[in-house]
């Protein structure tokens, strides 16, 4: 259960990126999982450059990799998605897949990353017993960091000018444009925000399974997408809720049924949601208009 919650908080962070991007440009960003990988790699290099794994270096790693990924997010958006904003949706989706393949295999090809998994430096494992539950310090960090980032995100979305603009664009892009909102800036900002969250999730994920490799982003990316759909895609609290549910479901399956079936269960959940309530738990039912 504790494992599930900490894993779930990582999924929630990734799902937030999916949901925000979808809410604003109506695009499933297939490359989101690979941004996570880039974040983990950036974190890995920062940590190795700064020496031992201590809270300070971990903080430095978060800072560096979130910045790197935010820049990456903006670049991906500007180069690959912006020219296609008015094209049919399927073209943008295919481009997103292209970006994903490019990032993965670019990482394989680059000599300083390479196909071999690298051990991610972690802090010495200490377990704390707490009301009868055993929690490792990595899990505490995971949980705390995610909660802090979620609070920061909520503040940004609800109480800043940019957040207001984001909500406006996701509500109605054309009307927002008419109201004098710089839609391009808002979209870039959203991508940067999503990518930064993915980077944080990448570091957390690779601290929990201490290794870094080019294809590490695919599975957490997909599961986080399921989480986003479960919570209602486009809804921020939904993504958080969905992330926790998926994380807990996966850990329980691994613990009590079979570890190989865990992935199948997650996608099974996706199919069940699509049958029962396609708009997700907290999603709004939107009628399509001509």
């Amino acid at each position: 259960m504790v494992n599930g919650i900490s894993l779930g908080s990582v999924y929630a962070l990734i799902a937030l990126g999916y949901t925000m991007v979808y809410g604003i440009v109506k695009l499933i960003n297939f490359a989101h999982g690979d941004v996570l990988m880039i974040g983990a790699v950036a974190g890995f290099f920062t940590m190795s450059a700064m020496g031992d794994a201590t809270p300070v270096t971990l903080f430095g790693a978060f800072l560096v990799s979130m910045l790197v990924c935010a820049v990456f997010g903006i670049l991906i958006e500007k180069i690959c998605y912006k020219p296609l904003r008015n094209a049919p949706k399927i073209n943008a989706l295919i481009t997103a897949i292209g970006v994903s393949i490019l990032l993965e295999n670019g990482a394989v090809v680059l000599p300083f990353i390479g196909p071999q998994p690298k051990a991610f430096p972690t802090m010495t494992d200490k377990s704390h017993t707490f009301l009868g539950l055993t929690i490792s310090n990595v899990q505490i960090i995971e949980f705390a960091v995610s909660i802090i980032l979620m609070i920061v995100l909520t503040v940004i979305i609800n109480y800043t000018k940019m957040g207001k603009a984001m909500r406006a664009v996701s509500h109605d892009t054309k009307a927002a444009l008419l109201m004098g909102i710089n839609v391009n800036r808002v979209i870039s900002f959203t991508f940067a925000l999503g990518a930064a969250l993915a980077a944080a999730a990448g570091i957390l994920f690779s601290s929990a399974y201490p290794q870094v490799e080019p294809y590490m982003g695919i599975m957490p990316g997909l599961k986080a997408f399921v989480a986003a759909v479960l919570g209602g895609i486009g809804s921020v609290p939904g993504a958080v809720l969905g992330g926790f549910v998926i994380g807990i479901a996966e850990t329980l399956t691994k613990g009590f049924i079979s570890s190989t079936l865990a992935d199948a269960i997650v996608f099974g959940i996706l199919i069940v949601i699509l049958v029962v309530k396609p708009s997700g738990i907290l999603g709004k039912n939107i009628r399509e208009k001509v």
Partner: protein, 349 residues
């Protein structure tokens, strides 16, 4: 004249042309001018063409992105393989059975996802490929588990003749697939399918049963993938659960996008060319995939229509023109039948 202008004439031109190409290629393989390795690539290209045609039907013509085509292909492949290992049935029946089982899988995935608008189909089919791998890995005594399914019989017992026989089977299945998809697209059902791609809401208000046609195209596409998979099982004689994954499906998306979403000839040309390139570029290792990723992005941004766009190359038209000139027949060069286009496939091979 009446007979000569009609569909029968077009169909017979097609048959004759594909028969000539078939005879030439077969002769080249038989005499060893095309060696075994290239014959294998050619056969593989034929199989990929069948699967990619299925994908084009749902993605190119219906406008629904599917990312699990390799999954359906492997369903067909495993079905055919298992049937042939366990029972004594004709090869043809086993291949068709592979297609039908893949179609049934398509039905089950289509029911929840296709009635929704949006991009859910892409993700669900992607997830399907992943689940399938888990399932195949766990059904040890049926599918051979993680070590793969071994000992599938091939098209013939004579080892030396295998390239020739597999080429014959795959070639005619490929022609059949092209004919089926080509005729389907030109029928009223095909028009309905294309109208969904152009505008779903408008199609719906015109009285087209959108979810039925989406379902129909999707099942048809899964069926073709399954048939391709059945041929693949017979050609390779060994199946690996890894090949159900995301990456193999993406290759089919690349074929279809490169050839042009909504062009049968485009799919055929690009599949053959890219299958060949994939083999030739093997020495590049991982750079090959970097190249394919870049290709997708660049194509979508600068050349979203692909090689052919939605156009088709016709082989019947030039022949008609030629005959009209030789025999001085009036009005003969007009292309009147529905079967006419889409046979350039073989021309490229």
């Amino acid at each position: 004249m009446g007979l000569l202008k009609g569909k029968i004439f077009n169909a017979s031109i097609l048959l004759i042309v594909s028969f000539i190409i078939f005879a030439v290629l077969l002769g080249l393989i038989y005499t060893g001018v095309i060696n075994e390795y290239y014959a294998l690539i050619l056969t593989l290209a034929g199989i990929n063409t069948i699967v990619a045609l299925g994908l084009n039907l749902i993605t190119g013509f219906t406008g629904q992105l599917v990312l699990g085509q390799a999954g359906f292909m492997m369903v067909g492949a495993y079905t055919t393989g298992i049937i042939l290992i366990r029972f004594d049935v004709p090869i043809f029946a086993a291949i068709i059975a592979g297609g039908i089982v893949a179609g049934i899988f398509g039905l089950f995935i289509g029911i929840p996802t296709l009635r929704l608008r949006g991009d859910y189909l892409a993700i669900t089919t992607l997830g399907f490929g992943e689940i399938l791998r888990v399932i195949i890995n766990n059904l040890d005594n049926l599918t051979g588990g993680a070590s793969g399914l071994k000992g599938i019989p091939t098209f013939t017992d004579d080892y030396l003749m295998k390239p020739v026989y597999s080429f014959i089977w795959v070639f005619w299945f490929c022609v059949l697939a092209i004919l089926i998809v080509g005729n389907l697209i030109r029928s009223s059902h095909g028009r309905a399918i294309i109208s969904i791609r152009e505008d779903e809401i408008a199609a719906n208000s015109m009285g087209i049963n959108v979810s039925f046609y989406k379902m129909f195209a999707f099942i048809m596409s899964a069926f073709l993938a399954g048939v391709g998979g059945g041929l693949y099982a017979l050609l390779q004689q060994y199946l690996d659960p890894k090949s159900t994954g995301f990456l193999s499906s993406v290759f089919f998306v690349v074929y279809v996008v490169f050839g042009g979403l909504g062009s049968i000839t485009g799919t055929v040309v690009s599949t053959v060319v890219l299958t060949y390139m994939q083999e030739v570029l093997r020495f590049l290792g991982s750079y090959r995939l970097v190249f394919f990723g870049l290709l997708l992005i660049v194509m979508m941004i600068f050349w979203p229509k692909g090689l052919f766009g939605t156009k088709e190359l016709s082989i019947v038209k030039p022949i008609r023109k030629f005959l009209a000139k030789v025999f001085k027949l009036k009005g003969f060069e007009e292309d009147s039948g529905p079967v006419s286009k889409s046979s350039v496939q073989s021309g490229v091979k």
